[in-house]
């Protein structure tokens, strides 16, 4: 019952609205008729501005008067129409608000995500800072330990050790040579002591001395490491050095020898 | 082998792009199959050119061969030169002699050699039925300059000759005489038609371009319109008929096919300046000299699209549309008593 009643009311309302629309359309048609009777005004080609401005002024005055006279139009008072219109507007508002809500939701979600991401980032940065701090500490400790003096002393002690070792080696080598390669005569050492007094008598030198002179020449004059053989060199020792490849003869001058390049 | 020949071959090889090298050397036909295969095309060009010269030395190549390679190169890149069209005419009553290429060559050579001893003449015929003649000019005391030759392109039994312009003035007369003698004509004159595109020039003078309005097929036009209409039913073309007329006029003027390629059109104005007497800037009797040049990579296409693009009203001036039918792109506009006449060549 109530439904059909409502339908009936709606029909009435529609009818009423249509009637109103038709009334307005009739007005429009009447206006149009008046307009068509009006002559079309062309613009003068030479100086259109003045006539256009006059035209404009007239039109603006007319419009002004129209606005002055005009009373606000009231839409139909039919309650059904009003209800429908209100409903429609409310629905539209509802729709708009829902849209806004969903937008806000979406925005919120995005902001939350952003926040999370930022926090994560912050954490990572924090970790990085911690890590860097630790590294810095370690490095600074090392810096404290490393003192110039200490290093210098260390180097010095090392050097001393090496020097001692070298001395030891040299002594051992000297002893070995002296023990196993003595001069041919027993009184060689005694004769050596009196070498300056007996210039003409050639004094033989020990293998130790030969080696020393060879090494010294090689170290001091690397560009010309040859030593000239004179009568003070006992020839069997020279032969020994040459045969075991400890010394080499000069390619052109057989009277000169040098130490083999052991370090090459 | 002469040192000049070797150097000339080397320079010509250097000019050839790598992609074309194999093809051109094969067309040249100086090398045997084995020799061609032995050439390494992927090495530095300088080395390659020396290798080619080496092989030429073995084969005993002459300046004839060198000139042949130059013609092959220039035939392929004919658009690099500017070509001028000349037209030969016969006197009335001259009988048509049966044309023969051998006679043509002999007569041409004889005529040139009669007056100039130091000259290299090379002929080469191509598949498109054109005869290319390369002439390297020398003087009485100087050997021919191979680097500034003249190229002449001739099609048998046509009155047209296409000449590329690196020609000395005094040699031009000799060349014309030789051409007239060889092809049995009595006079030759320039046609005021010049372009880089040799094929387009041929299309213009041999009337091979598509300009026929009768053959015009309405199908594509309707399609074109429908594509415009189909864009959106809410867009309405008010002046469809007008556009249609513009298209028709354009098609009458330029045809609907592809157009020959020209690079410029020149108009030499020698008309009297028409002004109100009170202005009195110029005196009316002296012609007002002025030179107007239209230039574009593809001039005729550009002119054709002027009206549809709304940059000019259709139909265009006769002066612009008559380039193809008149077969010229240099005009001289002079004052005529009987109204305005366009560009008759002054001879």
């Amino acid at each position: 019952m109530s439904l059909s009643q409502q339908d009936l009311n709606l029909e009435d309302a529609k009818e009423q609205l249509l009637e109103e629309c038709e009334g307005i359309w009739k007005q429009v048609e009447e206006c149009q008729n008046k307009l068509t009777f009006q002559e079309i005004e062309t613009v003068p080609a030479t100086d259109p501005k003045l006539s256009l401005l006059l035209h404009r002024m007239k039109a603006l005055t007319a419009e002004f008067n129209q606005w002055q006279k005009r009373t606000p139009e009231i839409i139909t008072t039919n309650p059904d129409v009003l209800v429908a219109l209100g409903k429609d507007q409310l629905q539209r508002l509802d729709h708009d608000l829902e849209m806004i809500l969903s937008t806000v939701h979406a925005k919120n979600k995005k902001l939350n995500e952003d926040l999370l991401r930022e926090q994560q980032w912050l954490e990572e940065q924090q970790q990085l800072i911690d890590c860097l701090d630790q590294t810095e500490k370690e490095i600074s400790n090392q810096v404290v330990q490393f003192s110039e003096k200490r290093a210098f002393q260390e180097l010095k002690s090392k050097m001393l050790k090496i020097k001692a070792y070298k001395e030891e080696l040299l002594n051992a080598l000297g002893e070995f040579v002296e023990k196993h390669f003595p001069l041919p005569e027993d009184d060689g050492i005694q004769k050596k002591k009196t070498r300056s007094s007996r210039e003409e008598d050639v004094q033989l030198i020990t293998l130790h001395e030969i080696l020393e002179s060879l090494i010294n020449t090689l170290i001091n004059k690397p560009h010309d490491p040859y030593v000239t053989i004179n009568n003070s060199f006992w020839s069997p020792y020279i032969e020994l050095l040459l045969r075991y490849g400890i010394a080499l003869r000069h390619l052109e001058d057989p009277s000169r020898i040098r130490l083999e390049n052991f370090y090459d | 082998m002469d040192e000049i020949v070797a150097e000339y071959i080397r320079r010509t090889v250097l000019r050839i792009p790598r992609s074309e090298m194999g093809r051109m050397l094969t067309t040249w036909g100086v090398f045997s199959e084995n020799q061609l295969q032995s050439i390494n095309l992927h090495q530095i060009k300088d080395k390659l050119s020396q290798e080619v010269v080496q092989l030429c030395e073995e084969n005993g190549a002459t300046i004839k061969h060198a000139a042949n390679l130059d013609i092959i190169y220039n035939y392929t890149y004919r658009d690099k030169k500017v070509w001028t069209v000349y037209k030969m005419t016969k006197e009335d009553g001259d009988e048509n002699v049966v044309f023969n290429w051998v006679d043509f060559k002999n007569r041409f050579k004889a005529s040139l050699r009669l007056l100039l001893k130091n000259v290299t003449i090379t002929f080469k015929k191509f598949e498109d039925n054109s005869m290319w003649i390369r002439i390297a000019w020398g003087t009485q005391f100087k050997k021919p300059n191979q680097y500034k030759p003249t190229y002449v392109v001739y099609h048998s039994q046509t009155p047209y000759v296409f000449i590329s312009h690196s020609i000395f003035k005094n040699c031009r007369v000799l060349l014309f005489q030789a051409l007239l003698a060889a092809a049995n004509y009595s006079d030759i004159h320039e046609m005021d038609l010049r372009s880089r595109c040799l094929d387009s020039l041929k299309d213009i003078v041999f009337k091979r371009y598509n300009q026929n309005v009768e053959t015009f097929n309405p199908q594509p036009l309707q399609e074109r319109n429908s594509t415009l209409e189909n864009v959106d039913p809410r867009i309405i073309q008010e002046d469809k008929n007008k556009k249609e007329t513009i298209r028709k006029i354009n098609e009458e003027d330029f045809g609907n096919g592809s157009l020959p390629k020209l690079q410029y059109a020149q108009y030499k104005l020698e008309t009297v300046f028409k002004s109100k007497p009170e202005m009195g800037i110029l005196n009316d009797k002296e012609p007002f000299r002025c030179l107007v040049t239209f230039s574009s990579p593809h001039l005729l296409e550009a002119l054709k699209s002027l009206a549809p693009a709304g940059l000019a009203t259709a139909p265009l001036s006769r002066l612009l549309t008559c380039i193809v039918p008149e077969a010229k792109n240099s005009f001289k506009i002079t004052e005529k008593k009987s109204g305005f006449s366009h560009g008759l060549p002054d001879q």
Partner: protein, 182 residues
């Protein structure tokens, strides 16, 4: 001489019609397409013409024109003189806010063959606004299309409370180009 009448026909329900006049077909087409891409709750009709008067044989099917846009290509004198000649065929009532000039290609100063002042003067002579627009740039084209659509809505009477005349008066004062009014 046929003149395009501003009120010759009844308006059509829920639709508005814009007329683009200009010689450059491609620009017209582009602008028309851009206008139609804008979402609208009323039906938009776009008529294209290269000059006025419009062909009379189509008068009976053409709806009432609400806004005329004269497109001046700043790079072509031909375009300018064509517009100048077309203006004569327009009903004076159109100049009460239903005409607008659209100058295209003014950005590339070295290629301009019409002075900007000439267009401003012409528009002032006909008491109508000028819009500048580079149609090649898509963003500017869209912005111009939106401006034209707003004007069209007003001119077609779809905005209650604002008439084309009052709107154009507003535009005039906002531009404030009193230099040409003197």
């Amino acid at each position: 001489m046929s003149t395009l009448a501003a009120f010759g026909k009844l308006p059509t329900l829920n639709s508005a019609t814009i007329l683009l006049v200009g010689t450059n077909e491609i620009f017209q087409q582009q602008l028309a397409e851009t206008i139609l891409q804008e979402k609208q709750d009323l039906k938009i009709n776009i008529h294209l013409a290269d000059s006025l008067p419009l062909p009379p044989e189509r008068d009976h099917i053409r709806p009432r024109i609400d806004l005329i846009v004269f497109m001046v290509n700043m790079q072509s004198k031909h375009s300018y003189s064509n517009i100048e000649a077309s203006l004569v065929h327009v009903d004076a009532s159109f100049f009460l806010g239903k005409v607008c000039f659209l100058a295209t290609g003014a950005g590339r100063l070295n290629q301009i063959s019409i002075e900007v002042n000439a267009v401003l003067k012409l528009a002032d002579l006909y008491c109508s606004p000028v819009l500048f627009c580079e149609l090649e740039c898509e963003k500017i084209r869209i912005a111009t299309a939106q401006r034209l659509l707003r004007m069209l809505r007003i001119c077609a009477g779809h905005m209650s409370g604002v008439s084309a005349l009052s709107f154009s008066s507003l535009m005039k004062s906002s531009i404030g180009d009193s230099s040409f009014l003197a």
